[in-house]
């Protein structure tokens, strides 16, 4: 199969080609690697390409297929966000601190996908330690948007979204702490899902904010997301917050429907559509998407999330607080970067961390340290936790009158590189629609729903009640059966 076909084929189509002998895993891996290399300079979607390991894994997958009885993902090329630990392959978190770090173990997600026979071709770019909404805060340089390389890919899982959008791989892993799967998926015109907190083990994911971090997948369709998500769900005793329930076969549920959404109540939170910074093109596209859902049988209902605005301040207290503690281990003592010259222990800590971390990471460590300090804990951290509970309660109430919430994924389309990087608050405000699902632990998905005047993709977000991943995927799948926004290709 040619690289061009790889570019346009869905995961399911590739799986069919493999099982019918029309292509081989090794050919797919070669095509994916070739395309990744040829686009690397323009997109910078990858931090590390593992060509040899990928070819070996692909050959092994082909070998297994000859023995029969392989899973659907066997031989499918994919890429991992460089926040997932990979045994023997450097895992950087896009930080100077871990630029040379080689983990001795695989993350749960990596392990599961490898067991399913998927072939990882490398590690994708991201914002350093997953902190950012543009993928501009990377020690390895920004990732660029395949639709316009002068623009951001979104963040933090920008490399994964760009790699899928650019047709390098049909599916890539991501993590979503405040929108890091959904927002770059929206910016790059692909589909991404963040499952419920606890659905997917965090074991082996370099922590940013533990109570919010959740692994997800980015692909070209809801159906492909469903296939990949099932492979990474399930209980993992190594993560105490992992849910003790088996993986669900989301794809089977999708295959069993007639594409109608009769009776589905889609809630449109009025506060979301009243956001000041909501771009007119984005509003128009998301409202049009709502009408498409209506035409599929869904009923649109008005809902309220009264504390929607408070999600950003709550998030930007809780996430930095946890981050300030999670990142304390990068002290130069045992592994990772250590400053070359220092006078004493404190000086080593200071210089190592000053040189090893980028500005955005330092900013969040400072904020987090501050909000946990004696005398400020109650006013900030505790207050933010109370807000978090109230916000979760708002979602719960909204789901009394609807089955899913429909909203924009982000208020704007991809902005130009450097446009917001001097103004952190502007960047934080981009997370207004995505953060709520993280604070409440809810599953949420972003799928393409149109383009703005500049030809940049727009994302439509669906948020579901706890554990309603299948419902989310069913709705998005029905939408994608009816529309072709997700089939549009960037002009690379």
């Amino acid at each position: 199969m040619s690289a061009e076909r790889l570019l346009t084929s869905s995961l399911r189509e590739l799986a069919a080609a493999l099982s019918e002998g029309r292509t081989r895993a090794e050919a797919l891996a070669d095509a994916a690697l070739e395309r990744a290399q040829s686009l690397q300079e323009r997109l910078n979607a990858f931090i590390t390409l593992t060509s040899e390991a990928a070819r070996a894994a692909a050959r092994a997958a082909d070998e297994r297929r000859r023995g029969g009885n392989v899973s659907l993902l066997s031989g499918i090329p994919l890429a991992h966000k460089d926040l997932f630990c990979t045994r023997g392959v450097r895992t950087t978190a896009a930080s100077r601190m871990l630029a040379e770090f080689v983990p001795p173990y695989d993350a749960f997600v990596v392990e599961r996908l490898a067991q399913a026979g998927a072939v990882s071709i490398g590690k994708t770019n991201l914002d350093e330690f997953a902190m950012g909404s543009a993928n501009e805060h990377s020690h390895f340089g920004p990732c660029r948007n395949p639709w316009d390389t002068s623009r951001i890919a979104g963040g933090s899982s920008g490399g994964s979204a760009a790699a899928v959008a650019a047709g390098i791989v049909p599916v890539a892993t991501g993590t979503d702490t405040g929108g890091s799967v959904r927002q770059p998926a929206a910016m790059c015109g692909v589909t991404g899902i963040k499952p419920s907190y606890g659905r997917v083990s965090r074991y082996g994911i370099i922590a940013y904010a533990s109570s919010l971090d959740q692994a997800g997948v980015i692909a070209r369709s809801a159906e492909d997301c469903a296939l990949a998500l099932t492979a990474i769900e399930g209980f993992d005793p190594r993560d105490s917050t992992s849910l003790d329930r088996p993986a669900e076969d989301h794809a089977a549920a999708l295959a069993a429907t007639d594409g109608r959404l009769d009776g589905l109540r889609l809630g449109l939170p009025r506060e979301f559509f009243a956001v000041e910074g909501l771009d007119a093109d984005v509003r128009r596209a998301v409202e049009a998407a709502a009408r498409t859902y209506e035409s599929l049988g869904a009923r649109l209902v008005d809902v309220s999330l009264p504390r929607a605005e408070l999600a950003i301040p709550a998030y930007y207290v809780i996430a930095p607080a946890e981050a300030s503690s999670n990142l304390a281990r990068y002290d130069g003592v045992r592994y990772g970067y250590r400053a070359p010259d220092y006078a004493d222990l404190d000086d080593m800590y200071r210089k190592t961390r000053a040189q090893g971390f980028g500005d955005e990471v330092k900013r969040r460590i400072l904020v987090g340290t501050y909000v946990l300090s004696h005398g400020y804990y109650d006013a900030y951290y505790l207050q933010a936790q109370k807000l978090r509970r109230l916000i979760a309660e708002d979602y719960r109430q909204a789901f009394d009158s609807c089955d899913l919430i429909l909203a924009p994924t982000a208020p704007t389309t991809a902005w130009r590189l450097g446009e917001k990087d001097q103004d952190p608050v502007q960047e934080y405000l981009q997370d207004i629609y995505t953060i709520g699902a993280n604070l409440a632990g809810l599953p949420a998905l972003s799928h393409p729903c149109g383009f703005d005047a500049a030809g940049l993709p727009i994302g439509c977000q669906l948020i579901g009640p706890y554990l309603a991943e299948t419902r989310l995927l069913l709705a998005a799948h029905a939408f994608q059966e009816k529309t072709d926004w997700h089939r549009q290709l960037p002009p690379l």
Binding site: P103, P104, S210, H374
Partner: protein, 486 residues
């Protein structure tokens, strides 16, 4: 300034390493003494992406201790992160329990002093919480550098915090000893103080007698023997009183005890105290303990030292002092109880005497633990029985004991036989000897008849001598008395 009478106020924080085979949040071994960093897995080294998983065994031990001190076991407790930078603290935070500990409001009754002045006291235990130990910084082995050994990192600890209820170093030592006995008794901690399994921090302050407010305390860190605990408190109290009497003030501080100089010295003052930025650890769910589990653990608890002590006094007729000594460790108590079980409760007291006397002295000299004793509890029982039924004399019993100790013999009756220690108790066999003694010692006979009781001893001695020690002295005494007063 008038001379003031001072009162000492002491509270102890004790870190007990728990006896789980693996660490509190990882599967690495907790065994002591391995090559540096051989027992530190990815979680202990805090590699990126690793997560803690709570060891159920550590919780079980915390519950056991909680029940043994009659404390409340929290149905829900929370692990928090205590944030600070130190090279032997891999994550940059210690996982500990802060606002909601697993055990709270317990008590421990201690015996203070010996003899007439001995008294009982109940010390309140505020809380006991689970946490992980840090690694070790090795400053000596590396020239100009510090080595880090993470074998200890993640070893489960129970930090047991008392109220400031102790009023002297003696009470503090008695409390620490009683807790040390208890944790080993119920098997939650091996109590090895040289290896750091049981470490004591003492909060010490003084105040004028009659004052109800607490004085400013200084915390003596990391005392690893009862002797150092005693010395450190004695020094600290003297220093604080002197300072106050000279018109100075005591600053709140953390101090270290230097055993070589017998002094405490300041490690850090309140000004450079850390802000630990505690917050609930988002990687761990709240610890929820169901009642059924607590009851299951309660049902499997051994009889506790305090209850056993009471039983030994009330039912075995021992003195409180002996009961205390016998309950100093579970092994010793078990040894004693096994001996009594074989000998019968009626002769419990001589069993106790043998164990605390002859046996304890031998063990001490040989530096053996009770578990290593070559003399078994059944031996003690048989020995005591043979003395009790008159088969052997006390002197003979000592010979039997010696044979048991050296391994010369393993059966009490066989030793008695082999060494010819059987006493002659038969009157017909003794009568001739008694008559001979009376006939040969008219002076003693005269004195006895004149009312001098002591003269009888000389006659008994004569008979014993004539029998080469084989005569039963009690029977001889009876016989003599009967004949002389007839």
């Amino acid at each position: 300034m008038n001379r003031t009478d001072w009162e000492t106020v002491i509270g102890l924080e004790i870190h007990a390493q728990l006896t789980t085979r693996s660490k509190i949040f990882s599967g690495a071994s907790t065994a002591f003494g391995a090559e540096p960093n051989r027992q530190a897995c990815a979680i202990d080294v805090a590699l990126p992406g690793t997560l803690p998983v709570l060891n159920r065994g550590a919780v079980e031990r915390a519950i056991r201790l909680g029940l043994a001190i009659e404390a409340e076991i929290a149905e829900r407790s929370v692990f928090a992160r205590k944030n600070y930078f130190y090279p032997d603290l891999p994550k940059g935070y210690q996982i500990s329990q802060y606002e909601l500990p697993v055990v709270k409001n317990g008590t421990l009754t201690i015996q203070v002093g010996e003899g007439e002045s001995a008294y009982e006291k109940t010390v309140r235990i505020t809380r006991a919480h689970l946490e992980e130990d840090a690694g070790k910084s090795l400053h000596e082995d590396f020239h100009g550098m510090t080595g880090i050994d993470l074998n200890r990192a993640g070893t489960p600890l129970l930090e047991i915090v008392s109220e400031p209820d102790m009023r002297s170093a003696e009470e503090a030592v008695a409390y620490a000893r009683a807790l040390h006995t208890l944790v080993r008794w119920i098997g939650v901690c091996d109590g090895n103080m040289q290896e750091g399994s049981f470490r004591i921090d003492a909060n010490v302050s003084v105040r004028p007698k009659g004052e109800t407010r607490l004085g400013t305390r200084r915390e003596i860190k990391n005392l690893n023997s009862f002797r150092f605990l005693q010395q450190a408190i004695d020094y600290e109290v003297r220093w604080q009183i002197e300072t106050l009497e000279e018109g100075g003030t005591v600053q709140q501080a953390t101090v270290l005890f230097d055993p070589e100089r017998g002094e405490t010295r300041v490690m850090r003052t309140k000004e450079d105290a850390h802000d630990y930025r505690y917050f609930p650890d988002p990687d761990l769910l709240p610890l929820v303990i169901d009642r059924a589990w607590i009851e299951e653990i309660r049902a499997n608890l051994p009889e506790l030292p305090q209850a056993l002590r009471r039983r030994l006094v009330d039912e075995h007729g021992l003195t409180r002092y002996d009961a205390n000594l016998l309950t100093a460790s579970k092994e010793l108590a078990d040894y004693y109880l096994a001996a009594v079980a074989a000998a019968g409760q009626a002769i419990a007291k001589p069993c106790a005497n043998w164990i605390l006397g002859e046996l304890a002295a031998k063990l001490n000299r040989a530096e053996l633990d009770i578990g290593e004793s070559p003399v078994r509890p059944e031996h003690i029982a048989a020995l005591v029985q043979r003395v009790h039924d008159g088969t052997i004399s006390h002197a003979g019993a000592k010979k039997v004991f010696e044979a048991l100790w050296t391994g010369e013999g393993t059966d009490v009756d066989a030793i008695i036989e082999a060494q010819g220690l059987k006493q002659v108790s038969d009157e017909s066999a003794l009568e001739a000897l008694v008559d001979a003694a009376i006939a040969g010692n008219p002076k003693s006979v005269e004195e006895f008849r004149a009312g001098k009781e002591k003269a009888l001893n000389a006659l008994v001695g004569q008979v014993m001598k004539a029998s080469r020690g084989a005569a039963n002295p009690q029977r001889v005494t009876e016989l003599l008395r009967r004949k002389l007063t007839a």
